[in-house]
Symmetry: D2
Subunit: 355 residues, 4 copies
């Protein structure tokens, strides 16, 4: 299979696990009997390793899926009668089948419209004011959830993140970051993991592992502070109750530790971003293509003529299409690269696109 061109650009989750993760799983299997439900030697060092990564005290809880990570962490940040505010494009608002509503027991999600998936601080401020004025009529916001990199492949600057988090904190909200593609954003920004998270005011993070090369491993990361301390106390109960506590938890911990070792996750994300830029360069030579968003991570959104999309499909390429804005001709399509995308795969796609 690996000799053939890889034509699936539908998502960064269509990939296998990366070799280092597979080796870590095999190694974990050689450890014999171990205490279950997170009392094993690998799970017990997660906090230490993630604290080293972020340069601050953290409390880490592994989860097998990004939807679980987002929904579980949000459930600790907002009471059932409260509200979550996010960008209108947010994954939690559109793509998780109601998981946040399920885990929060019906907290209301309000999406703020934005052109590129990046929330505007002034719009946040106004939305928070209006929410407060509604009193008991509207579920009061308890948490701001941001996405880095965003659903449209753009990236927040650390300054904007800081401003948004500051506004939220001033109104008594805590701040969550959906970091399913955090590594891609960090690679784009050239910043440290700390700078785009807790130093920008993020209280809790969904750390993406699966898209960065794991089999099935994400991490809920709380940055320990006065706001998060009571939330952290509730997590083990919430995780068990959600059926997300693995008896053989060593196997989630092993994946996460493998990703952290030598910053493998960042290396994988760096590669994915580079493949995306390579594709972007090719697309810029394309006469008819329109790129509605800046390409700042491992996703390219392009509006292509329908005829060309049909041709790509016939060649076996896979990708998602999205509703195209009114008045625009063509179809909005997304190509996603990953640690598993090779230069030859990008070049083949580029050739098909441009020819």
């Amino acid at each position: 299979m690996s000799d053939h061109i890889r034509k699936n650009f539908a998502s960064d989750n269509v990939t296998p696990a990366c070799p280092e993760v597979m080796q870590a799983l095999a190694d974990a299997n050689e450890m014999g009997n171990l205490p279950s439900y997170g009392q094993d030697d690998l799970s017990l060092i997660l906090n230490k390793h993630f604290s080293a990564l972020f340069g601050t005290e953290v409390a880490v809880f592994p989860a097998a899926t990004g939807t679980a990570a987002n929904a579980l962490v949000l459930s600790a940040m907002v009471p059932p009668y409260g509200g979550i505010v996010c960008d209108q494009s947010a994954h939690i608002n559109n793509d998780e089948g109601g998981a946040p509503e399920f885990f929060t027991h019906g907290a209301k999600i309000t999406g703020i419209p934005s052109p590129e998936g990046r929330m505007n601080p002034a719009a946040l401020h106004q939305t928070l004011i209006q929410n407060r004025e509604k009193g008991v009529l509207s579920p009061p916001f308890h948490v701001l959830s941001l996405t880095q990199s965003t659903e449209w492949g753009t990236v927040y600057s650390c300054n904007t993140l800081t401003e948004l988090a500051h506004t939220a904190h001033e109104h008594g909200l805590s701040v969550h970051l959906d970091g399913a593609r955090l590594g891609n954003a960090i690679n784009h920004l050239g910043c440290t993991p700390a700078e785009t998270t807790w130093q920008a005011g993020i209280d809790a993070l969904s750390f993406g592992g699966t898209k960065a090369g794991a089999m099935a491993a994400e991490a809920i990361v709380f940055f320990v502070n006065e706001r998060t301390r009571p939330m952290i106390q509730t997590m083990e109960h919430r995780i068990k109750r959600g059926g997300h506590s693995w008896s053989k938890q060593r196997f989630m911990a092993a994946q996460l530790l493998a990703l952290l070792k030598n910053d493998l996750w960042l290396t994988n994300c760096h590669h994915a971003n580079a493949m995306c830029q390579r594709l972007l360069k090719a697309l810029h030579q394309h006469p008819a293509v329109h790129l509605p968003f800046a390409t700042e991570s491992n996703e390219i959104f392009a509006i292509l003529p329908q005829k060309q999309l049909n041709a790509l499909s016939e060649e076996g390429y896979q990708f998602y299409t999205f509703p195209t804005p009114d008045g625009v001709s063509g179809t909005l399509v997304r190509f996603v690269t990953s640690f598993y995308t090779r230069e030859c795969d990008v070049d083949a796609l580029a050739e098909s696109l441009i020819s």
Copy 2:
């Protein structure tokens, strides 16, 4: 590690995965990019393989944990305002941190007391009558949940299962079987998987994989009939909403297929049961031991003098203790064997126990 005596008898989930499962995961990783969320080639053949196992049409949904499997399947069998009736000792009633209540949105669980973890059909009948008479005051039962083998290591005969399921059906309930240790029961009964499930009236099954050798893989199995057809339609939504839909689902499917291949799961359970009987034989020679329940699967419950338990702990043995019934001296303790328990491990424990 494998040279040393394995002293952890706390549960059959303290083990690694069995080699065949690990190989299947490695093989799945070599398959390159695959469609995510269950559209891969391995996931798509689960129904066929489980149908062959049970000799009837089934609809299968993988889940990473037994708690998730139980809670998810129950959520499709009972509305939020309804009730679940089970044995008082049931895992769903005592050990899942409220997961069934969470996934069913607060359906009420009623436990019927029984001496050995096996529900009495007459007691079920009486309980169903009383529930009906309560009208709107009590959540109406919609599902009977049974456990095979039971929480106390005993096994239902197929006849008793049939009688219980029949009673439930007559009252309009559907029937769920928690089969976290189903293979152990089948080995004890010497029956077919069909005989102790759908042929006995079971509508839906939590098929245990993790305790039988998987890394993290269970299967929700609906036996297709008039009662289950509408439930099946809802499952993909429930699973996504619970955060239990893996993007790289091939890795759950691969584990389950490995367990089914050549009846590996039954071979593993057969071995676990045999190790338990070997330990039982030794315990029978013990002067002071009291065995409150029949040993019919891979769990032995024994009431031992506290002094001896202390000695075992000092030697490094691990096991769970339970509240001892009033008026009994000694401590109720549980030893669990698995595919990973060797004869030498049992013999060493036996020696420590008897000496």
Copy 3:
């Protein structure tokens, strides 16, 4: 008090109960001991009286508040993993403190934007198509909820209602009507209660009583058909579980029966509408007033200069203000009339407004 000008135009729920309702309560109190929880003689004839009103078979369940009526009926129309589609301005989407999310266990509400609170059938069609295409990623819509008269005081024509309901039915949804001000709409349309409900395709109705003169009484009205029959079966359990089953239910039934007797509710709504038109006529003479919506029920929305609002407040008038659209100077304000508003009250307000 009744000699003074009534200056509270904040809502039609700031009023007392109308005299006929009070008399009905007193009469019900003279009936001595009666069976509780809806088995009394008054509750038992609700179905018959509402069936006569609508000219078709109905199943009626009283509730003390409009929020309860809406949330309870919706909970029978959508599963927890499903979705509700409504106009963006809908009360269930903005003003019920998350009650629909609570009673439906987290079903997702999607609001379609519209200029005047009236959903556009084409927009509904497009939204339903997009929802279906999202598959498990989005909670699937199960119910369309419309509001008659709307939150902005406008009224759907029976034709538009019919078209919307037809589109919903074609996509497998059932249709709910929030009729907190249904009587006002019927008065405006000059139609029968049947024409603007089940004959237009409405499956279930929240029949507003409190704003039409009751103390605390609404009615959930199911129009009996294939879609609603299974919903109806669940209602008594849902109502009990929501704490909305009155032990002395005669007192809710008595209010509803009083409203139905001689069409008192329509008479009350007719009066409220007439008072609103009287105020409208006065406002038309106002030089600076802007009326953004058609005035078709008992609510007038007007954009007034801030200075004038301050003057009104100082005179003791009460009303709600709303966020004013961008680029508009002045403040959006709402005046609501009721059965309890007199011509002299309207005239006094008009004089203050115009002077």
Copy 4:
């Protein structure tokens, strides 16, 4: 009707409202327009009047039903992943259709068996210890819910209540009292309202109004302390979200204020208790009657020969029957008296019973 013998002893909620409550409603209706949702003059003085009754600072929230009051207050005392411990006979555990599970989002209720509906402090202590030892496997108890007077018509001494509450507090639980028949208990004990509530360690109370003579009015009463302060902050949101916020809330407040005026509720309960004692005296003369519980409030439980029950039914008497304990011949029946029961009604029943 009032000339006839009142033969309905099924419950104290089959009655009308008492005359003082009806008058208070009529008076409230004469107050003209008033701010809605609890901002009216009557609602705003509830805290003051209840504080005077209990001699301490309280926060009061009216609710129309006892089920709503219990479920709402519990939802503020236990998180969704937590547990409630109560007597096995508790109303919240048996008779509220799953309302506590609904409002708490699935918190688990554990009932401790007791002979007479009065929880044993030692049993509570043991249950709390076992719960803690289960860790994440069992929802952790957050609240102890007691009932005064109990479901079997018995009454806790203030000393026992104090001991139970103390034990709960020591384990970090808060304490709720279901006081649907609190007035009857106070009458029996001859104590003050303070002594059997906050002075005994009760943190929050469901104050029963409907059974004491109201139309539909209960009160959630928080005794303000460090434990309850954060709970109180959440209540308005919970009540709105539960659909239990009346727009015309004056009418709930008026009922409660009428009950408090001149201790009307206690007078009514005193009368009910006296009627019960009168009936008890008669029953003592009955040769075959067996009274399984002490008669300490307004409920008598008696085991009567079936033949006699049939005779009573034929005479038109109404009462509830309960499952009779194994090995006992006869049927367990309950007679409930109220403010509305007259001496002549009791004497007629007694005559029928004894003859």
